[in-house]
Amino acid sequence: MSNIKIKVISRNPEDYLRATKRDIHKLPRNYDPSLHPLEAPREYVRALNAVKLERVFAKPFIGNLDGHRDGVSSLAKHPSRLAVLASGAFDGEIRIWDLAVRKCTRNFVAHEGWVRSLCYTPKGDTFTSVGDDKTIKSWKAEVESPDDEEPINTLLSMSVVTGVTHHRIKPIFATCGEHCQLWENTRNEPVKVFKWGVDSLHHVSFNQVEDNLLASCASDRSIILYDCRESGPLRKVVMELRPNALAWNPMEAFIFTVANEDYNLYTFDVRKLNHPVNIHQDHTSAVIDVDYAPTGREFVSGSYDKTVRIFETLKGHSRDVYHTKRMQRLTCVKWSLDNKYILSGLMK
């Protein structure tokens, strides 16, 4: 027997065998840049294709929630459950939706005239609604017995209430109308009344981070800042045209954005109210509502021009615009708390 030497290629199996079945297949690659002379053009083409395909496959419209007999006037997100949404309509009806199955779980007429505003309590077990009939009603979020259908508490206000917002921690909420009023759940009269000027207010919003601050939009084209503790009203900013809505940045305590009648949105720093930090342009009609993404990097705005736009906080122009054929004028927009979906309410 002669010893014949056969030469074989021998490789370390670690280089080509994957450790488990779930791993991706190992591909030996040579990353030497001299072997890839066309690296830059290839990357360019890839990037271009990626951008194009993203646009081609972008189908932002997921579905509509059918059921309201009149236009939707207000929306409220559940603070701890992603699938729950409450919506109020111009005919005074409130509907609770299950977003996962896109079905209405509960509907009832809450007010005479339209439902001006809705908000959940931070725990999420009740929600408050205000309507044209000068009442502030609290409802149970979950119906377990037939008694739960009735409001838990009905507060009578002296004047029309147009907005409601809840403190993040304390059991107090603020309403606006003729004046900004602070209510406690257990009392029938407002704990505090903040008066400044004679004009009525149409939107109010609590700061979520620095939770004693709240801001409201007045019909004399001004934004008023309040401290809900001792100080009361702090400062007023008068704009050229009327501010419609206001949203606080949930990640940056001193930043808030105002949706304005002059087609723009203005981002302000609480400490420097003389000039807006940023002006966001692109809408072609009055901006009706604005809501921040929970990450605080972006916000969504709904306008009278029937479009929804997404803006980055630090940029002046919108990143995206959503519009479909059947869309009507926007009344409210919300950004879901998992930073994934946008909800909008329309007129009919």
Partner: protein
């Protein structure tokens, strides 16, 4: 039972008696309301004055028996007197304003603590939401298991009988929202706030009470000074912002100009005007007011006049306007002497009116006036002219030509013409104050001045000519002259800086224009004239430019690693080393070559200038289809395109050289280095790094394409919590630059 009834009866009787007795007293008292409802608002209608108050004096009266009692009485009275009256509180709006201001400042300070957190989250590479992370550390098995207990059946039974109550204790602890320390702190905070408020209120009150005009004047001045100082600082620090501020100021000024403030039409001014008839001080006030308005409405800079000055540098004195006694707007200063002129009422007005009328009638007196003013103007202008002529002399000295003298004469004639034209301007005015002057003397002076000047110039020219001739004979002309030139040139420049605009016509010879830098001899000979000319040209242009109206542009040089395009073009001039491959063979199917040629042709055609037809068909002649425009029209109205300049790539074969920058390209270029990068090199390197997993290892690829925001599907992102302030990475973030940038925004 009876007793009670009796008591009630007696009580009611007593009440009746008291009320009837009290009715004897004429004053009406507001009684204490019998029913009270708890409200959080107290109206002033619920307040009442207690009438049955104990009167101390009557009590003291009783104590007059002994000396000891008298002492006590005195003490009691003294204590009553010592009570100080509380100051009246500030008015509600003022107090509210102060409250708001202090509250806002407080909140501003407090909210500033979020700065580092926000700055960090904005600058960091990526943030993963939700921010609160539950620790994923694995608990040791023993610890984990120790939580569970196995209960024996007996224990279970016992539990059933007596369920353990542990939770309640915890609840008891949680009932109080604040601990004692917190409460104390809260109270202290409140007290501090209130103290601040009251301090501010007191200050405001004190300041509002000061009536002293001087104080307010000083205050105003201080404010102005402060603003000026701030502005200057801003100018140093941030010129761009300073410019913006200046613009804002300008706008404010324009707005004020637009309004009717500081004019004599307001209510205040009208009232004052009525009083002004009798009161000199009031007149002064109105004059001040008008002065303010004048200073506001005065144009900042007269650009049109500067244009005029280029043509003839003699400023026309504003005789008619500045000395018009009737025009309150044209007063130089709000002097007391002018005030009377400003306000002429009744008989004064009438008299003035009459005076003017008489002036109109008497042509003689008018002409006299005119002459005198004429003389005045002439005097002024003479001094200016002599100045100019001195400058001209210098030119004559330098330019050695016989013709120059003639031109000088012409020039003087021109100047003389101007003078006469000036006098015409003066004669057209009729509101001239008489100025007493001897006209004859001036005339003599004038002629004498001209004669002497002429003589002087003639002598000087002759001298100069002689000297130069001598020099010319002595030395080689061209060599010496060139040596002398630089010094003369500098002299010229110095003089030419003055108003000298008529130097160009002096030289009749044509300039030789060459592109070459090498100077031939004849050019050298001509040089003195050229040097003379050169400095004047930029001066003329510079006089047109308003020195305040240009933007300072800083040239930006990016230290780029990319080679310059210009150099590339230069390289192309050299012979190119192209491998000998038949391109047509390689791309047989695609007609690359042809398409390239087409492209090049397009490129050439694009740059080609074409004729511009300005003629209007049918204008002055028949138009329409088939009608040709006359030749004269064609010649006149069709602008011929300039001759074609040869392209750089004309004979270079298959290349296209773009000779001009494409302006559309500029918008795609990066003008400055984006934020996190410090240098251009870094930025370019970051752009060039490949990110695909074909070119770099998987891990690096994953890291590079990581999004700046990472969210988890189906998890709610809570708003930021105050605990985030205590997170060490946020607390340690001390990038002052970033925070400052944020604060600036």
């Amino acid at each position: 039972m009876e007793d009670i009834e009796d008591d009630e009866f007696v009580a009611s009787e007593h009440d009746l008696l008291v009320s009837t007795v009290s009715k004897l007293d004429k004053t009406q008292h507001i009684r204490e309301p019998t029913r009270n409802e708890p409200t959080n608002r107290n109206t002033e209608f619920n307040l009442f004055k207690r009438s049955n108050k104990l009167d101390l004096k009557s009590v003291v009266k009783v104590l007059e028996d002994t000396s000891h009692h008298v002492k006590i009485a005195k003490k009691i009275l003294k204590s009553q007197n010592a009570s100080t009256v509380l100051p009246k509180p500030l008015e509600k709006p003022v107090a509210d304003r102060i409250k708001r201001a202090t509250g806002y400042d407080e909140n501003k300070k407090k909210i500033g603590r979020w700065d580092p957190v926000v700055a960090r989250s904005r600058t960091v590479d990526y943030v993963s939401f939700p921010l609160k992370h539950t620790s994923t550390k694995l608990v040791p098995t023993k610890e984990f298991l120790s939580k569970f207990k196995l209960k024996s059946p007996l224990e279970k039974e016992l539990d059933e009988i007596e369920p353990q109550v542990i939770e309640e204790e915890e609840e008891d602890n949680q009932i109080y929202p604040m601990s004692y320390e917190e409460m104390v702190e809260h109270r202290q905070h409140l007290a501090k706030l209130r103290a601040q408020q009251s301090y501010n209120a007191a200050k405001a009150k004190r300041q509002s009470k000061i009536k002293s005009k001087k104080y307010h004047r000083i205050l105003k001045k201080e404010k102005l000074k402060q603003q000026l100082k701030e502005f200057e600082e801003l100018q140093k620090k941030d010129p761009e912002q300073a410019l913006q501020k200046l613009e804002a100021l300008e706008k404010a000024r324009a707005l004020e100009r637009h309004t009717l403030r500081h004019k004599s039409t307001g209510k205040w001014a009208k009232n004052k005007l009525i009083r002004a008839k009798y009161d000199k001080d009031v007149r002064q006030q109105i004059a001040d007011q008008l002065a303010v308005s004048r200073s506001l409405t005065h144009k900042v800079q007269d650009n049109e006049s500067s244009d005029d000055e280029v043509d003839n540098n003699i400023v026309i004195p504003d005789v008619t306007l500045s000395q018009d006694p009737k025009n309150p707007w044209m007063l130089q200063r709000a002097d007391k002497s002018n005030i009377d002129a400003e306000f002429d009422f009744g008989y004064k007005k009438y008299l003035n009116h009459k005076m003017y009328k008489r002036q109109d009638n008497n042509s003689d007196s008018e002409s006299e006036n005119n002459q005198s003013t004429e003389m005045n103007i002439l005097k002024e202008s003479i001094s200016r002219i002599t100045h100019i002529e001195h400058a001209n002399d210098e030119i004559v000295k330098d330019v050695v030509k016989p013709t120059s003298y003639k031109t000088l004469k012409k020039q003087r004639n021109k100047l003389y013409d101007k003078k006469t034209s000036l006098s015409v301007v003066a004669t057209s005015s009729w509101k001239v104050e008489p100025i007493v002057q001897n006209s004859g003397e001036v005339n003599i002076n004038l002629s004498a001045a001209f004669d002497s000047l002429e003589d002087e110039v003639a002598v000087k020219v002759e001298q100069k000519l002689k000297r130069l001739r001598a020099e010319f004979e002595n030395s080689n002309p061209s060599a010496k002259k060139t040596n002398e030139d630089p010094q003369k040139e500098t002299d010229n420049i110095e003089y030419l800086k003055f108003k000298n605009k008529k130097t160009t016509p002096i030289i009749d010879e044509a300039l030789i224009e060459t592109n070459n830098l090498s100077t031939s001899e004849d050019v050298n000979v001509l040089k003195p004239a050229c040097t003379l000319l050169e400095p004047t040209v930029p001066q003329n242009t510079s006089s047109d430019i308003d020195p305040t109206r240009f933007i300072e542009v800083k040239p930006k040089y990016l230290n780029s690693a990319i080679p310059n395009i210009d150099n590339e073009n230069d390289d192309l001039d050299d012979e190119q080393v192209v491998p000998k491959v038949n391109i047509e063979e390689v791309f047989e199917e695609d007609d690359v070559v042809d398409s390239f040629r087409q492209e090049k042709e397009d490129e050439i055609n694009k740059d080609k200038p074409s004729d511009i037809d300005l003629s209007l068909p049918g204008w002055g002649s028949w138009g329409g289809k088939g009608v040709k425009a006359p030749k004269r029209k064609r010649n006149r109205f069709i602008l011929k395109a300039p001759p074609k300049i040869p392209r750089r790539d004309e004979h270079k074969g298959e290349i296209i050289i773009n000779e001009y920058k494409d302006p559309k390209l500029a918008s795609h270029k990066v003008t400055n280095v984006p934020f996190p990068f410090a240098s251009v090199k870094e930025y370019e390197a970051s752009i060039r790094t490949p990110i695909g997993n074909t070119f770099i290892p998987e891990k690096a690829h994953k890291k590079l394409i990581r999004p700046s925001i990472i969210t988890k599907a189906g998890t709610i992102i809570e708003p930021m919590d105050e605990e985030e302030l205590l997170v060490p990475k946020n607390r340690n973030f001390k990038n002052d630059n970033v925070i400052k940038l944020l604060a600036k925004k």
